[in-house]
Structures are given as structure tokens and as C-alpha cells.
Symmetry: C2
Subunit: 473 residues, 2 copies
Amino acid sequence: MAPSPTIIPIIMAGGAGSRLWPLSRDTMPKQFIELFDDGLSAFQATLRRVVGEGFGRPIVVTNNDFRFIAAEQLSRLGIEAEIVLEPERRDSAAAVAVGAVLAERLGTGGVCLLLASDHVIRDEAGFLDAVRKAATVAATGRIMTLGITPDHASTAYGYIHPGADDLGEGARSIERFVEKPDRATAEGYVAEGYVWNSGNFAFSAEVMLKELEHFTPNVLAAAREAAEKATRDLDFIRLDAAAFSASPTISIDYAVMEKTRLGGVLAAEFGWSDIGSWDSLHAVKDKDANGNRLEGDVVAIDTRNSFVRSEEALTTVLGLDDVVVVTTHDAVLVSSMAAAPKVKTLVAELKKAGRREAGEHMRIHRPWGWYQRIDIGDRFQVKHICVKPGGRLSLQRHHHRAEHWVVVHGTAEVTIDGSTKFYHENEAAYLPIGCIHRLHNPGKIDLKLIEVQVGSYTGEDDIVRIEDVYARS
Amino acid sequence: MAPSPTIIPIIMAGGAGSRLWPLSRDTMPKQFIELFDDGLSAFQATLRRVVGEGFGRPIVVTNNDFRFIAAEQLSRLGIEAEIVLEPERRDSAAAVAVGAVLAERLGTGGVCLLLASDHVIRDEAGFLDAVRKAATVAATGRIMTLGITPDHASTAYGYIHPGADDLGEGARSIERFVEKPDRATAEGYVAEGYVWNSGNFAFSAEVMLKELEHFTPNVLAAAREAAEKATRDLDFIRLDAAAFSASPTISIDYAVMEKTRLGGVLAAEFGWSDIGSWDSLHAVKDKDANGNRLEGDVVAIDTRNSFVRSEEALTTVLGLDDVVVVTTHDAVLVSSMAAAPKVKTLVAELKKAGRREAGEHMRIHRPWGWYQRIDIGDRFQVKHICVKPGGRLSLQRHHHRAEHWVVVHGTAEVTIDGSTKFYHENEAAYLPIGCIHRLHNPGKIDLKLIEVQVGSYTGEDDIVRIEDVYARS
């Protein structure tokens, strides 16, 4: 066996999937949520798999909106990475191009390993074995796809028909890619030895750049220019917005993989799922004797083969089989297991109707911590605010509301119109309408406070930011 | 037709049914909840039906726990009634006995009309017609049951087999009472002309007392003594607890109706339902073209014949038929329509497990208004408090918590350690641990405030009541 080349992980973490709604939403998509009881998001689990011996410094390609979440989740693991910010969504070809451009610039040589950040892999050793084999073949000039040997005739995945050529390491050439099939077609594919297209790839930057140049030069040109004009902003590499937005929106499958003659596929099994909907999440989870997976404060009676998850409310299910029930603070989903893939359509309809819940969580994450509305009424709103140690909100003012802050945990440093005071647990500060104020946690533990806003308008857009340490003003 | 006698309505409003959980709970049972869009609870609708021409002052028999709710709902309708408080639950025989004893004492003569307060009646004219006929027969010495001509072979109701004797007004004697049957038996009953036992009766107090004396003297003795020793407390007749608790717990059906030879039944149809479970509520509600009844913030896709009600959260249902989904702030029920009658069992299990949500709502009603917890954490709790105009909380102190009150609507009169001050919208009061304090709404509109409690223990039982205008200390 050839010695494995150094592998540069490129992690795609810019998606805003809605198929696990209401848990996953645009402001906190599924790759950043803890979906298992392991204390890790799928994004974190993905990264943890590809650190250490044989792996180079990872490149995370994510959306500007997720920069603080990604940075915090990496920092919690103690993993350092290049965090590349896409100013807007341009599908996978642009992200691959940016990753390949940056890998080339880093000049480390080796092989790029392009991974989705929202997949589940249960057999880590099997995964690493497959990765090393794919990388070895990729080093010979192939663009390798990780193919998954099907364990059922899924209609949720695209398939790859392996070709006749043996590429070594058990890899094969690619005869063709096929779209998600219907059930009967899927059964045919499985019988004929097709494998699932996992959307994870290994390639040398050089080869990928050449193929992008050949098949989709616009994408590559946009990526090159966006990377050249990129700016460092805090710890982020911020791609140039004008240049990046010139890229066509196209997937790497359409742009390159279905056209290149350099494609290859390594079929493997490593307990993989793209957890693309609630039914597939249910499928990969451990279940009780009734086939149920119950998470959180849940009571189920006369219920089988169901997935029930509660974030907060006592959630009860009675006399139902094959259902998905997910309850969150502000939105509830009740679906048949079979209809679960249609959640995407439901969310699209909610968005069309202008529903906040379609895309936003109640708990809004900010670089300094988070806040959550706990009550709202005519002329008032109440929020729970949590500021991380060292966190500092922007210097700001409001035109339409006064605020009362009651510290319930930790210590607050509050600046009001130039004068700074410390407030401890059980102390309250008053911020009159129009005052210029700032909140900072100078301590070593979380600062928690209850904010009561009173005024004629309590919308989030009544914030005039005067100065901000997170470069948001 | 004989002239109708004066009718004294006796309204049974002491039940704490759990079969419409999580909407109906022990602290706010279904008779007091607005279940239709008419701005009325079933209790209010029941009373409104029996005021005016031909009806005397109603007697409401309810539980001590519900006295303020009942009084407030009556007052909103401008209906005056005797409100009789049962110190504990003793089933219907005791309530009937108390009602008959009081009706006798009022000495108005006439006929008692005993009505459940949690039934739905859609044809009011038909109901009043049946009541007048039943009362006319009751005046001749019969204990009349309102029987309902079945429109389907329900297994949820007890049946009455009418006897051969014609009692006039279309009424018949009673051959026998039968328990809730299985489906096949129910079909037989319907074919043979049995009618549903609605649990509503008409009788003269004198006759009922004589039958109680004969068949269940313990119940009557307890009721007589409890009424004799009753005290007036504010506007309530508070039955003597020791005397009342001596009564056996037994239904009027078992105690008297199945034994007496004076029973009679008037079969009628007036769009009646006892709304004993979610499926029966669904049955009496108007539905859309898909057979769905959607209430509150609900979106349903590919869903049929379902009842979905949201109190607060956006509630979505996808690809399911024949389900009941009820979401409240702190508890969610998802059930098949067929299993809906089993909600009672579910609630019993929750109670056994010591779950607060089984019996208590988040919003706790008090004679002065209500409060609702909106957040809780380690060493703090946040409540939204609403005090009605004129409402006055007890003079109290806490040993383990300080409180911050921010007024967000109306005006508060706050007394702290003997000193009284007014607080208006956007003003905050601080109540240190151990201070003796009182909150009063001196204004003409609701007072709303956000209370932030901070301390080592924030349980509801850390209240030392020093003085209370509602006689609760």
C-alpha cells in the first residue's frame, strides 16, 4: 500500500437546511446542533474525526452568518482551523473551488478531503480507513467520491454506478451518477451494485482546479478573485463579496463530477447517514423496545416506531405509530414518519407566509452570548440575556424603549452615558430611553440578566450601534 | 299543556375533569374554559340558558377551589346566583342532595333543574322546550332524566331503556339504566330505542329529598348538616367541611335513579354533547373541507379529520389523519382520535409521577387576578403578574427571595414595611428579602408587572401571609 498523503480537510458548513425544522433553522442549522447525546454538534464531530496524524490544518467554509457559532464550537474543541466566510450561498461548486484555491495557496501539497459537516458517521475507524484509501487514489490524480454501500433501497440519496476500471485500494472508476430514484428504480440500483453518493470527496487541489477551469471556469474565476481580495476580519477569512457573488450557483456534482473523466468511487460502509430528515435521524438513533426514540421530557403510551423530542414542554403521545413529534419553545411539528421529508415544503410555506419561526430560533446567538424573549405584550418585552465571560455588547442606544436590567447571575459592568458601574446578583440598572449604554461581563462566569423593555416599540431593529468589538456596527 | 312550574336551576360545577387535558386541568377544569369562539365558558353558557322567564335564582354547586373563577364568570354575565362551596369532592349524589336541601330552604316551591356545567347544547330552543316538558312532568312527582335520542351508537355514554308508561309531555317511565356499552351492544340499544343518559335531571326538591332519605340516608344527612352549619364567606355559602365529608362518594345514578320507581325520561334532541373527550369536542365543532378543526396558530398539510389547537406556539401537522394535537405553554398532547378517551389514563399516570403539568396550568388564577411563570433558573424566577382593578394581594413576606417589580401596564400601589408609594408604567420597585409588602391595583385598568425573584429558594410556598382581603391567610 502506498504511503498516505497528508490530508487537508475542507469542511462545508454553510448550509441552512430546514429539513430538521423546528430544531434546525436558518439561524442555527442542523450541523451546529447537538443531535446526539455526545455533547457535540455534527460539525464538531466531523472536525474531531479529521485531526491528528496524517491530517493538516482544516479549512472550514461557512456562511458569514455562522461565523461566531463555528468559531465558538471549534474553540470548545481546541481545534484551530481556517474559517472562510462566504458572503452568500452559492452551492457546493463555489465552496469546493474556494477550498481548493486556499489549499493550493497554503502550498502544503497533499490531498484535499471535502466533507459535509452535517453527516453522521457511526463507524469512525471504517470512515478513516476509507478516507485514507480514497486519499491514496486521489494522490494519483483522481477525484474520488466516498460511495456508501446501500443497506436498503433508499429513495433519499443519489446513486453512483461504479465503472469497470480498478483504481487500486478497492476503488473503481465511475460509470455514471444518477439522481434520487423512485422505490422500484432504487431496488434495481441496489441489485446492480450501485452505491450511494455521500457528497464527500478526496482530490488534489491541482487536479480539482484544472477540472473546474475546464468545466466551470466562471465558478473558479469567482473563487480565485474572492480569495485574492479576501480580508482578515478577527480570526476569519472574509471572501470578497462582489467577486464571490459573480459565481454561478451550482453543485459540484453538476459542475464537475458528472463530466470529468477523472472521477473515481470508493465503496465503503461506515454507518453513514446524511440525516436529511427526521425519519433518517430516527433510523440512525438507538431505539427502545417499541421502536421509539424519546428525547427530553416525553411520555409515550401505546406508541410505536416514533421519534419524539421535546426541548421544553412536557410532550405526550398517545395511541400513534410511525410519527415524528418535535416540540420547541415556539414551534411544534407533528408529522407522519412517511411525510417527514416534506418538512422542507412545510418550512418553505411558512417562509412564504412571513413566519419568523420558519427561520429563527427564540434563542438568538451573538458573539457575546445569547438572548431569548421570554414574554411580550403591548408596549413591553422581557428577555433573558446571557453574556459570556469577557463578552461585550455593542455601545448602543434605543429611540423607543427604556430598559430595566436585573442581574440574576454573575456580574455586569454597565456603562450609561459615559459612567460605568458594576452590578451584582439581585441588583438592577435602569436605562432611560435614548441613553448611550453598553453591557460587559468582566467576570469568569456567565452573566445572566432579565431585561424588561418598556416603550412604544420594542423591535430588534431599534438599536443604534455606536461601536462594536465584533465589527458589526 | 299544564302551565310550567318555576324552575330552579342547580348547576353542578365542581368537577375537575382531565379528559380535555392539557387544556383542562384540576386548577381550571373544562367547564370554566372557553371551548368555542363565543366568549363563554360552558359554565357560563349553561347559566345563560336558564335565566329569565320561568327560571328562579340559580344555585351553583362548586368546589371551594373554583369559587373565585365561578364568581368572576357569573359577574361578567351579570348573573346572580347562590354559590355553594363543597369543601371536597363527593360525586353527584351529595351535590344533588345539597341542591335539593337549599332549594327546599329557599321555599320557592317549583321544580329543580339539575344541570351539568360542562355540556354543550347547540339547539337552545329545543333544550328549553325539553326542560319545560320535563319540569311539567317533574311537578307531578317524577324524577325526570333528560334523555338524548342517539344519532350514533356511542360507546361513551350510558343508556336508558324507556319503560312502557306514558307520563305525558312525551315522557316515559324508565325500564332500566345501562352502563356504557361496547360497540355491538350500543348498536342493539339504538335499534331498540334506548336513549343516552345526559346526566341532567328535573325534580321537585320534596320528591328528591324523600328518595334520598329512602335510598341513601347517609348522603342526605351529611348534606342537611353541611347546609345547616354552612357559613357565609364573602358571597359564598361555605358548606361545613366536617359534616359534608361524612357523605359517601356516590353518583346520583347509583344512589337514587337506578332504584327509584319515580324515574321518568324525556327523549329529546338538542345538539347535546358532554364533550367528555377531544374526539367528542371535535365531533360537535364546525370543520373545514378536510374534516379538520384548526384553532389558534396552526398550519396543517395533507391532514384530515383532525383537531389541532394551539394556545401559543406555531403548531404544524403534516401527513396525518384522525389525530388530536393540543399544544399549551408547558404541555403538549398528540393522540390518535381513537385513543382520545384514554387521555384520562395518561393524566392519571402523569399525576402518579408527580408531574405538576398534570393538574396545574402555568397561569395561576387568584381572586385578585393571575400570575404566570415566564422563566426560571438557578436562584431566580421571573413572573408576569396581572392584578385586576381593585385587586389586592395579601400582605406578605418571603424568607428566601428578594423581588424586583417592573410595572409595564397600569398603576401599582406598593406598600413596603408600612410605607406606600405609587408606581407607574416603566417604574420599578425593589423588595428586599424579609420585607413586609403588599401590592394593590388602585386604578381602572389591569396592572401588569414583571416580577424578577432572586434568592436561594423561589418556591410558591415561601409566602408568609400576614393579612388577606380574600380570607386566604
